[in-house]
Structures are given as structure tokens and as C-alpha cells.
Symmetry: C2
Subunit: 289 residues, 2 copies
């Protein structure tokens, strides 16, 4: 029996509908302030997608494009302005930043209550700690947990193996799975035999950025596979000359896995859905308090 | 061949001598401000030991005992005073706090530069994140890493299994081992079969608070065992009526392990040595800057 496909598109749509519903019950529009530095086309596309999603769900966005050579001071001053702006409930600084901007200092300037990306060290610290709760959880990792929960995958007591330890995905998803009482193993470029690790896993999260790296014989029968990777590989049969594949060899792994997320249409759509969710939560908190 | 004993007492003495040497090269005495709330005898003993160690290495301590029923506000005001006090380079709030004091709010009030216990969420967040460095690393976990390094145990590429995920030990030691490029597995009360996890480990860190829980048949031959547990068990042959044992069944595990820390005399003495190290580092930074 081939693996059940976890339909991220459907689940993300469900969440967007929930967000729109929550927005409609507020007496105001939650606002997302976005900052983009420079002219990277990929960054521009991501931010445009986020604006569009905001609009569809009743959130307003305030866009602040800055030139590639902007001084860090200017970026931080803008963040401080957005921190103080009552119309703005969430602030998103699109990464990567050009090299004159120190990512740590820039992200550290965001008010933790408006840190809807969840990248502020205080929010990461609270995510890591027992009995602490971050104001916001990073979107992609949060999206992975949502996919598991809405697919009725039990996490408690399960063995989860994470490939990758990036600040944006691998590390926070590991901390989230731990908070949900999985036994968590974190693998990375320094792990000599990743296959030996994944073979024992009930849940595998691949976030290592290597096309179709996880093979069928790496997988325990019935395991749940969450594929965070988005890699473009040359494909002559495609009009664009390339196609997108995940970190998991999906077709082959489907034969042994219990559940699997496709690429595209798995984790991808969840990231923006979680951003909207964090943003409406931030807005709701300002009403409650 | 029985396991090599990692002599924490000797290594801690070595570190204290290094600290004393660093202090002697400073034109001032590093200062440790300590706060203790209430009358717990164990807390009083710990703080007294820390003061004594400070004195021996040329650090001064400023002790601030507060009554059991003190208001949180007063504790935080005292912390703010110590934050501003130039004679104080490190601040230590002895845990646990009585229930009217919120640990998160109290510890969060400590200046991260003076957070020699490393418990501030910003310091934990930076410890968790790639390419970030905390101002200070929690003492017991840092001590475990020192024991490994000074015993020439390679961490990079090794499989490390941690039992326990407390904010004070299990979680930060996991993050430190990860920073040192081990493949890290975190086990806890929700892990159904801990023995299956430890059996594959090159390095086991036990910090779960259960007397002699880790048995001989849990251990891979040659593994390095770090025992953070300190549990008192009834012992009629002892004058005190009890004796201290770790989380590892030391005598039995010695027969299979490559290296092992004893209890007492293993990790225990390292905690205070690391506190002194953090404190002198904080003082040196004020001179450098």
C-alpha cells in the first residue's frame, strides 16, 4: 500500500480560512510590516506571495523595500518605527540580508511581540526551554507540526529524526518535536551515517537542502516523512528547464512510508499560512490586553 | 579493562588554578553578586561553596540573602541594582525560588553580560542558534564539555545520547554537543525505550535524576559516560544514613565503558569551576571593552 499523501495545500487552505474567520471577528485589520533589502528576485517573489495571502485573508500589509546598499542603522530605525506603529502587528524582515547588515542585530531589533517569524533569540530561547512559551514560533517548523497534527500523527513517545540544524527549520523543528514529547535525534553534515539514523525513525523531517537525498532504504516501513527541501534540478522535459524536488526521493519512498508530504504542495504552502496565523494571533493579543 | 575514570576533582582544580591566574593578571577583583531567597539548607550550602571558591581564586562575592516571603518586585530591583554595579561582573540567583517569584521574570531581569549562570532566554536562544554565541554558557553543561575535551574525547561526528531535557542541564548540554558537531539524541520521561537509545551512543550524558538507572547492558563497549545525577539513597552502613549515587550504575558500567565520571567527584566540582570561569571572563570583557 503506497503512503498516504499529506496534502499541504488543502491543510494550508483550511488554516487560511480559519485566519480569515478570526480576522472577521476583530474590529480591525491585522497588519504585517514587511522589509526587503535589495533586489533578489526570489525574495521579491516570497514577499509578494505573502502580501497576496494577507490580502486574501483580510490582513493589511505595509511594504518597505530598501536599497541593496542601505546602512544597517537605517534598517534598524525602520524596525523601531514599525515596533511603535500600532497598525503593525507583525514584522517580517525577508532574509537573506546583504552583507553590511548583521542578521543577528537586525532580527534582534524586532519587538518579540511582533516577531511573527519567531527568529528573535528570546523567542528561540523560550522555544528551547521547558515551561516557557515563545511569543511566536517560526513558520515553517510550526507548519510541519500542524501537518502532523492535522493528519492525526501521534508525536508523543515517537522517535523523530531531523536532518538539518538550520536556525530557520532544523533547529526549531527539533525543539518543537521535543516539546511535543518525541525522542529527538538531530543529524547534520557532521553525521557519518544518516541512513542508520533515519531507519529507526517514526517521523523523519528532511531539511538539509540536498535533492532526493533520502532514499527508500533509509526509511522504516510506515514512517511519516516531512520533506522541507525545495531544490531545483535540471529537467529538459520541463518548459522552464528545471523542476523542484524535495530532500526525499518521494516516488521511491512512497512505497515504504506510511505518510509523506509532496514537493511542491506539502510543507511549502504551510509557511505562509503560519505567518498569517502568527499575525492574527499578535493582533488578537493587542485587543485582549 | 575497566573504564578510565574522569577525575572531575582534578580537572576542576586545574581550572580553578587557571582562573586564579587570570584574576592575578587583572587590575581588579572580579565580583560575583549572589541572591538567595529563603532558608533552604541545600541552597545555602551551594551558595556558601560558591563564595568559598570565589575567595580561593581571588574573586569577591557580594551576598544578598532575602527573606522567604520577599516580593518579586524587590528581587528584581536588587537585580537591577547589581546590573548597574560596576564591582559586580556576574549575578547568580540561586534556584529554586519561592512560588511568589516567577523564575522566568526574575532570571530575565539579569543583564545578559552578567548572566554567569547562562539561564537568560537570550543566552539560551543564542546557544541554540547556529552562528550565534551566548555571553555565557550554563555551568554544569559547560563543565561536561570541559571534562570531555580535557579527557581528549572527540565529540565531532560522534553519537551522543542525552537522558533528560531540563533547562539547567539536559537541554543546554544537548545544544552544546550539537554545536560541537555530535549527532544528538534527546531522551526523556516520554521515551519508551531509553536503553535502545543509549546502546548506540558513543557518549552518554545522564541527567535524569534517577538513582543508578543506567545499567551495564544499556552501554556500548567503550562508550564515554558522563553522570550528572546526584541522588541520595538510604545506606545503613553510612554514618549519615545515606549515600550519594549518580544516574548511572557506575560499578557495573565501568566494566564496559571506555571512560566514566564518578559521583561524587565527576561533574559536581566542575559546576563551580565553570561559574568562576564565566565570572572572570565577564570581568575581563569589561576591561577589554
Amino acid at each position: 500500500m503506497p503512503a498516504e499523501i499529506i496534502d499541504g495545500k488543502r491543510i494550508a487552505a483550511e488554516i487560511r480560512a480559519e485566519v480569515a474567520n478570526r480576522v472577521s471577528r476583530l474590529n480591525m485589520s491585522p497588519g504585517l510590516g514587511t522589509i526587503i533589502v535589495g533586489n533578489r528576485t526570489d525574495s521579491a517573489t516570497y514577499v509578494r506571495m505573502k502580501h497576496k495571502a494577507c490580502e486574501e485573508c483580510g490582513l493589511v500589509s505595509f511594504h518597505h523595500p530598501l536599497p541593496e546598499d542601505v546602512e544597517q542603522k537605517t534598517v534598524i530605525e525602520l524596525i523601531q518605527k514599525l515596533n511603535a506603529d500600532e497598525r503593525v502587528h507583525g514584522i517580517l524582515v525577508q532574509l537573506p540580508l546583504p552583507k553590511q547588515c548583521n542578521e543577528e542585530q537586525v532580527l534582534g531589533a524586532v519587538d518579540i511581540n511582533k516577531d511573527v517569524d519567531g527568529f528573535h533569540p528570546v523567542n528561540i530561547g523560550r522555544l528551547a526551554m521547558k515551561n516557557r512559551e515563545p511569543m511566536h514560533v517560526p513558520c515553517t517548523p510550526k507548519g510541519c507540526i500542524e501537518l502532523l497534527k492535522r493528519s492525526n500523527v501521534q508525536i508523543h513517545g515517537k522517535e523523530a529524526v531531523i536532518l538539518g540544524r538550520s536556525n530557520i527549520v532544523g533547529l526549531p523543528i527539533s525543539l518543537l518535536l521535543l516539546k511535543n514529547n518525541a525522542t529527538v535525534t538531530i543529524c547534520h553534515s557532521g553525521t557519518p551515517d544518516m541512513a542508520a539514523q533515519t531507519k529507526k525513525a517514526d517521523i523523519v523531517v528532511a531539511a538539509i537542502g540536498s535533492a532526493a537525498m533520502v532514499k527508500k532504504d533509509w526509511i522504516k516501513p510506515g514512517a511519516v516523512l516531512i520533506d522541507v527541501g525545495i531544490n531545483s534540478v535540471p529537467d529538459e522535459t520541463s518548459k522552464r528547464g528545471y523542476r523542484l524536488v524535495g530532500d526525499i526521493d518521494t516516488k521511491a519512498c512512497e512505497e515504504v512510508a506510511g505518510m509523506i508530504t509532496p514537493v511542491p504542495g506539502g510543507v511549502g504552502p504551510m509557511t505562509i499560512a503560519m505567518l498569517l496565523q502568527n499575525c492574527v494571533t499578535a493582533a488578537e493579543r493587542t485587543v485582549e490586553s
